[in-house]
């Protein structure tokens, strides 16, 4: 497969930017915008119509069972997403951050990781969480306001959700540097790290610094940018004149644009990138070209800033439908399989609703717990005074 050298000396006529909204002829000529297909460099193995295609650098042998597994992952995480969205509408969650449309990007990337790899998510990575073995119920507290994520990041090798845009990219670079310093890089048993962020984040200084750090320390880090075309109301061209994957060249490592709605291509490219990293050829940037099918969050109203025909166009590129078509056409799955996945999704949705509506509010002590590793007597006195005050109410003495 391709070597980093190949990518650090790019073709001068590499594909121009591709963005969500329809480009004008002038923009295309100026090289600022391209077609909505993602450009000539887009790695794709399964077309939106469910046709299996080949790619000279990236391919993957996939068994029927593996593909059924990926399909199931995507259907289930979409159900989690829709249920959580509905729970917000019913007042059970304060806010939800939908992943609708990004199932293939996340399941493909997540399933490429090994248990020994580490992942640093942003806040929309419910599909990555799923692949790290985190029960979706553990995500709910963040959005219900009962906690800030309850999983053990060390055990799961899945960092807490990071909300300040781009912060986690430097943290991931540091973690990957540690993997290298610890001698865990250099052969097929090596470790690697994945860092997830969006198109908007690529403007943040932390992300650029993360590129620099990872590059100069040869860190085993896969930068996985989900370009879902919109940073709340701002389209990707507000962040860059250049297709985002081409930024990698300037930092001296490979950048690849993959069809983020193609779970096979995303899996293949991410596996390759992780393997390069574990062998010591990191870092690598992957731009997963996808689309945010729903609002930025449940507080957002995308009809204020984008056109519905854009959404209609992306509906035709649905990440799940193309796999279903392919499974059926190959006779790799029958109606019994699809029904069983639906039944699993129904069950999961029910569990989620049940769990969410029964979540207890945290006790007041939680405000003060774990602010410090070694305690702080001033804070402990403040806590005790407050708890005394609260217990005064409980006793009706106030």
């Amino acid at each position: 497969m391709s070597s980093p050298e190949q990518w650090t000396h790019p073709e001068p006529d590499a594909a121009p930017a591709a963005t969500a909204a329809k480009p004008t002829a002038e923009q295309v000529i100026a090289g600022l915008r391209a077609t909505d297909e993602g450009g000539a460099d887009l790695v794709q193995l399964l077309t939106p119509e469910g046709e299996r295609v080949t790619h000279p650098d990236f391919d993957i042998d996939i068994t029927p069972e593996e593909l059924r597994g990926l399909y199931r992952d995507m259907v289930l995480i979409r159900r989690v997403d829709r249920e959580a969205n509905a729970l917000q509408r019913k007042g059970q969650l304060g806010i939800w951050v939908p992943l609708l449309g990004q199932e293939a990007a996340q399941i493909g990337a997540g399933r490429a990781m090994r248990e020994t790899d580490m992942a640093f998510p942003s806040y929309r990575e419910h599909g990555i969480a799923w692949t790290r073995g985190i029960n979706p119920t553990e995500l709910l507290g963040i959005f219900r306001g009962t906690d800030q994520g309850t999983w053990d990041p060390v055990e799961k090798r899945f960092h807490p959700y990071t909300i300040v845009i781009g912060n986690q990219v430097l943290n991931a670079a540091g973690y990957a540097m540690g993997q290298k310093f610890d001698g865990k890089v250099g052969d097929d048993e090596g470790e690697a790290t994945m860092c997830f962020f969006g198109d908007g984040a690529t403007s943040q200084g932390d992300v650029h610094e993360g590129f620099v750090w990872a590059a100069v320390y040869d860190a085993p880090l896969v930068f996985f940018c989900q370009n879902n075309q919109w940073a709340i109301s701002e389209p990707t061209e507000r962040q860059s004149r250049l297709p985002l994957y081409q930024r990698a060249r300037g930092y001296g490592f490979p950048g690849i644009r993959v069809d983020g709605n193609d779970v096979l291509a995303t899996l293949a490219v991410t596996k390759w990138a992780l393997d390069e990293c574990r062998h010591g050829n990191g870092p690598i940037l992957i731009e997963a070209f996808t689309y945010r099918m729903d609002a930025h969050t449940t507080s957002d109203d995308p009809t204020r800033y984008r056109l519905s025909d854009e959404l209609e166009m992306w509906k035709l590129k649905d990440p799940i439908e193309r796999v279903k078509v392919y499974l059926v056409r190959q006779q790799w799955a029958d109606s019994e399989f699809f029904e069983s996945v639906e039944a699993d999704a129904d069950k999961l949705g029910e569990e989620l609703r049940e769990f969410c509506t029964n979540m207890p509010d945290p006790p007041a002590e939680r405000i003060f717990s774990n602010v410090y590793a070694e305690g702080n007597p001033v804070l402990e006195a403040q806590r005790d005074e407050f708890l005394d005050y609260v217990s005064g109410f409980a006793g009706g003495e106030h």
Partner: protein
């Protein structure tokens, strides 16, 4: 320029100069008035153009003033502030929106290192007429980094001025006065009060920007608050009055420079002071007020200055924010303690 909108005609030639507005609408109209008054006033921020900001404070401004005066910037707070510095040097008066309080920190370096210090470093040859608008504080049930009160960091930094509005009339006038100011102003907006209404007289002559104001007279104790806690303090004073306790309420308005003369005058009469703020108490605005009041009013004090604040912890998960944030009960509890001293 596009045809005037309804908003605009309302702002330019109101049927009556006194209108009932929300804080958010008053800010929007204040920004519009500032842009009309001075072509060098520009807006910068994330999602402030077409969307009108996530709180719609800049709603309609890009449509009417164009993309070169209302900039949907790339997603980088350091970039917003840092380029505002350059634009200010070129004679612009940038008004930067930081989408949420907790996102100001990527821009902290530019604020503290350049915005705050360029005038000093150049001995006045460069002015920094930059306004940094920050929707701040909690109480909206949000996720992490969306409910913080970081004002003390900026009040602690020489070269910056820091203000906070608490009602629609102040929102309308203070934002315009901040934009007129030749010093950089951190403008903290009480986001959980954005939709509270009040009367705004768009023809009135506003008082000075950097001045505190007594909002309610009282004789038994003094409450000092700013931003979102002013409403809490007023409510507490109303409740106390029913029990026969007379509380004076002062809206600080300016956090740097502090205008404590009305506070000293009040405390010399009441002998008791409770300072209310959402921010953690350690090394805070509230601490500074307590220090200065004990220095200036030492012989008038009948009780120690008490602080009712957020706790010295990170902002908690939102299900706990009612416990974290000072409320009427906690304010009155402190008043009781002060009166019983």
């Amino acid at each position: 320029m596009a045809a005037p909108t309804m908003d605009r005609s309302t702002a330019a030639a109101p049927a009556t100069p006194v209108q009932t507005l929300t804080i958010s609408k008053a800010l929007n109209m204040g920004l519009r008035a500032a842009m009309e008054a001075n072509p060098k006033v520009i807006m910068m921020g994330e999602d402030i153009g077409k969307l009108g900001g996530v709180f719609r404070i800049t709603d309609g401004l890009q449509k009417d003033f164009g993309e070169q005066r209302v900039l949907d910037t790339p997603l980088a707070e350091s970039g917003i502030i840092g380029t505002a510095v350059g634009l200010a040097i070129r004679g612009y008066r940038p008004v930067c929106e930081i989408q949420f309080d907790g996102f100001i920190f990527p821009g902290f370096d530019q604020i503290v290192s350049q915005v705050a210090k360029l005038h000093y470093r150049t001995q006045g040859k460069i002015k920094m007429p930059i306004v940094i608008r920050v929707p701040f504080g909690g109480g909206i049930g949000a996720v992490e980094h969306h409910s913080e009160s970081p004002e003390s960091y900026f009040a602690h930094t020489a070269g910056l001025k820091v203000v906070s509005c608490s009602n629609p009339a102040d929102a309308y006038w203070m934002i315009q006065q901040a934009i007129d100011c030749d010093d950089p102003v951190l403008f903290f907006e009480p986001k959980r009060r954005y939709y509270e209404k009040g009367e705004v007289d768009t023809t009135a002559q506003p008082g000075p920007l950097f001045q505190s104001r007594v909002l309610r007279s009282g004789t038994d104790a003094t409450l000092v608050a700013y931003g979102p806690m002013v409403r809490t303090a007023l409510d507490a004073a109303g409740a106390a009055a029913e029990d026969g306790t007379s509380l004076e309420v002062i809206d600080l308005r300016t956090l740097s420079p502090l205008d404590l003369a009305p506070v000293f005058e009040s405390v010399r009469r009441t002998g008791r002071l409770v300072v209310v703020s959402e921010a953690p108490s350690e090394s805070s605005i509230a601490s500074e007020i307590a220090a200065k009041v004990q220095q200036e009013c030492f012989y008038s004090l009948q009780a120690p200055v008490l602080r009712v604040t957020g706790f010295d912890t990170p902002y908690p998960p939102s299900k706990l924010e009612e416990e974290f944030l000072p409320d009427l009960d906690r304010v009155l509890h402190a008043v009781d303690r002060s009166l019983a001293w």
